[in-house]
């Protein structure tokens, strides 16, 4: 299936995928704060209430833990809820329900728990310490969750469809900086993209950048810039953190023998630490240099532009590190 409209934003792609799943499966519904009449804080569900009605587009009270538990209970008796957190920052209020009710339920009981948690995350919108967080590492440590972090409109659509169809709790993190900045050049495919498959988004021979979400496009831009200097950069978009496609990462690093891991989240205990460790374990004898990691400084994300830019990885810094790893 394809959409008719050409040129889709990242946000349009998410909306189109969600709408197509709600059209296809009467058990799929969306709930969260302001998702109905208001169309969501970022307008992902704009028009959904008119199309599907209040039974399937559910405005909840301001109660993240409560509506997360509601989604879990609905999933246990056969529905397929999609929960929208207004900001990923607020998901902390539902931590207990996600971890203790949702994540371990199947392991404990054998019952499926098909809930998708959509949450807009990330920095660079000058939104400050409690509106800019990257939350993936909190959840990556919890067995039983899947974590999906698309970096392109097409992946956002295809991976959201797979997340909704998955019988497990999936944390689907939407980079809100990309919502209206990234545009897919072609009509969007609404075919599911399997979870757990990384993608080599640019082939190269001298160094591999392993990245995800907003830093896929950043890394591609850096690769382009370095190509002009004669440095051949491969870019791997892991797309899903859990499950992680180790094979694609390993194949790339064995080919280039050099690796830089890039993400927006803080470097310390960021997901890049896991990727770097995997590369160390699987590719040690192929490596020409230690694996480099780029992530945010270990501070909250400040509001003011010069402060935020000093904390969150910038293209110039990525280029500098990749250049060094590729050539020294």
């Amino acid at each position: 299936m394809q959409t008719e409209q050409a040129a889709y934003t990242y946000l349009d792609a998410i909306a189109a995928a969600l709408m197509s799943e709600m059209e296809a499966d009467p058990d799929v519904f969306i709930l969260g704060e302001d998702v109905g009449q208001f169309g969501g804080a970022f307008k992902v569900t704009k028009g959904f209430l008119d199309k599907f009605g209040p039974r399937r587009v559910v405005d909840t009270p301001m109660a993240e833990s409560g509506f997360t538990g509601l989604a879990a209970g609905a999933a246990l008796v056969g529905l397929r809820p999609v929960v929208e957190f207004q900001f990923a920052d607020f998901i902390s209020a539902a931590f207990d329900q996600i971890i203790n009710v949702c994540a371990r339920h199947h392991y404990r009981t054998g019952n499926p728990m098909p809930v998708t948690f959509r949450a807009p995350f990330g920095a660079r919108l000058r939104a400050g310490p409690t509106h800019s967080q990257s939350v993936e590492s909190y959840f990556a440590h919890v067995p039983g969750l899947k974590i999906v972090m698309p970096g392109t409109p097409q992946d956002a659509a295809g991976l959201l469809i797979s997340s909704i169809r998955d019988n497990n709790p999936v944390i689907f993190l939407e980079n809100k900086y990309l919502y209206r900045r990234l545009r897919a050049p072609e009509p969007l495919s609404l075919e599911p993209i399997p979870l757990g498959q990384a993608k080599v988004v640019r082939e190269g021979s001298q160094v591999s950048i392993i990245t995800y979400s907003a830093y896929v496009s950043e890394s591609l831009a850096v690769a382009e810039e370095l190509a002009a200097e004669g440095i051949s950069v491969e870019v791997v978009d892991i797309r899903t953190l859990v499950p992680l496609d180790v094979d694609t990462i390993v194949a790339s690093v064995k080919k280039t023998s050099r690796a830089v891991v890039v993400h927006e989240a803080a470097r310390r205990m960021g997901y890049g630490a896991e990727i770097a460790a995997v590369i160390g374990e699987e590719c040690f004898w192929w490596l020409d240099r230690p694996v480099a990691r780029i992530g945010a400084l270990n501070t909250p994300t400040p509001t003011s532009p010069p402060l935020e830019d000093a904390v969150v990885p910038q293209a110039a810094r990525i280029a500098e590190v990749v250049r060094k790893v590729a050539t020294e």
Binding site: A63, G66, L70, G73, V77, R104
Partner: protein, 337 residues
């Protein structure tokens, strides 16, 4: 009513036992006796070292567990906690499986992956809650939501204790259910203590049913040692929920007669309080009423007790003989297919 509250009339003589279906009365009695027999047996198993970890019992909660469960249909959703063993039994849970859960056996409902009180079975429409309470409250709202979503007339009933009412999930769930008019019945088992914490350190309002007013839903306090009072209040709330009139809160007042768990001698509970409540054994009270109204005679009552005892003994034998899980399976089925 002893110590904590005086405003409710004590149950007993003259209550309308005979207005209930005789078969139902007998079944309720049997399940209460069975809950007591299974828990007494497990206490001795705990003492002889058969169980892993601790043992949470529901002595003096029998009327609540069975009185509520007996007012529901088999297809209604139950979200029990650790003092509600009788509700599981009512749904058809095998006592040997409950014991197996406390022993980490492969035959427990979780195959030994979870243990102790975590043995709810979804095939019996019973939720298996985590240790964080009352996480089962929001989950129950979700089941109720799904029933409305699909146009079914099923309801969801969740239990929590006096301590749980202080948690955010209690508030969020009751509020959500009230706003969405979900077919939920919220039971608060007020047993005077949350572990060692007495009511006065838990809530500035001693009457938990009063809290319902803050959510705009009906709230009622019943004698939690009177199984028919619990049953009737639940039946009323269930009828309201099925009719689309939204959730209700029922506070059932009783006493936790054992420690928080069997390791806990509960020295913080005044002995006079226990002595007072000792007179209000819900199982003995109900038996006396059934005898008084001729629903049961001494001989039949003794038979029920002996049958329950034998069943508990057989369950223990089975659970002891059951295999432990195979450690090579430990990483399997983390995810659903």
């Amino acid at each position: 009513m002893p110590t904590t509250r005086a405003r409710r009339k004590p149950a007993g003589k003259g209550e309308p036992v005979t207005s209930h279906d005789q078969e139902l009365l007998l079944r309720i009695f049997e399940m209460m006796v069975m809950m007591r027999a299974v828990e007494d047996r497990m206490v001795s198993m705990y003492r002889s070292g058969d169980l892993l970890g601790s043992l949470y019992t529901g002595h003096w909660h029998e009327a609540i567990a069975v009185g509520t469960a007996s007012a529901l249909r088999q297809d209604d959703f139950l979200a029990p906690l650790h003092r509600d063993l009788g509700a599981h039994l009512w749904r058809g849970m095998d006592p040997a499986q409950i014991m197996a859960s406390f022993m980490g056996k492969a035959t427990s409902p979780t195959g030994g992956r979870d243990g102790t009180l975590h043995y709810g079975r979804l095939d019996l429409n019973v939720y298996n809650p985590p240790s964080h309470i009352p996480d089962n409250y929001p989950v129950a709202t979700g089941a109720a939501f799904a029933f409305v979503y699909r146009g079914e007339d099923r309801v969801a009933l969740a239990y929590c204790g006096d301590g749980s009412t202080s948690e955010g999930d209690f508030h969020e769930a009751v509020n959500i259910a009230a706003v969405m008019k979900l077919p939920c019945i919220f039971i608060v088992e007020n047993n005077q203590y949350a572990y060692s914490t007495p009511i006065r350190l838990q809530s500035a309002v001693a009457d938990f049913a009063v809290k319902a007013a803050g959510y705009g839903i009906p709230g009622v306090t019943v004698d939690g040692t009177d199984v028919l009072a619990v049953h009737d209040a639940t039946a009323e709330a269930v009828a309201r929920a099925r009719a689309g009139d939204g959730p209700s809160l029922i506070e059932c007042v009783t006493m936790r007669m054992h420690g928080h768990a069997e390791h806990d001698p509960a020295d913080y509970v005044p002995r006079e309080m226990l002595a007072e409540w000792q007179q209000r054994d819900p199982v003995a009270l109900f038996e006396a009423r059934l005898l008084e109204h001729g629903v049961l005679d001494e001989e039949a009552a003794a038979k029920v007790r002996e049958a329950a005892r034998q069943k508990a003994i057989a369950a223990r034998k089975k659970a002891l003989a059951d295999p432990l899980p195979d450690p090579t399976t430990v990483e399997q089925a983390l995810y659903a297919d």
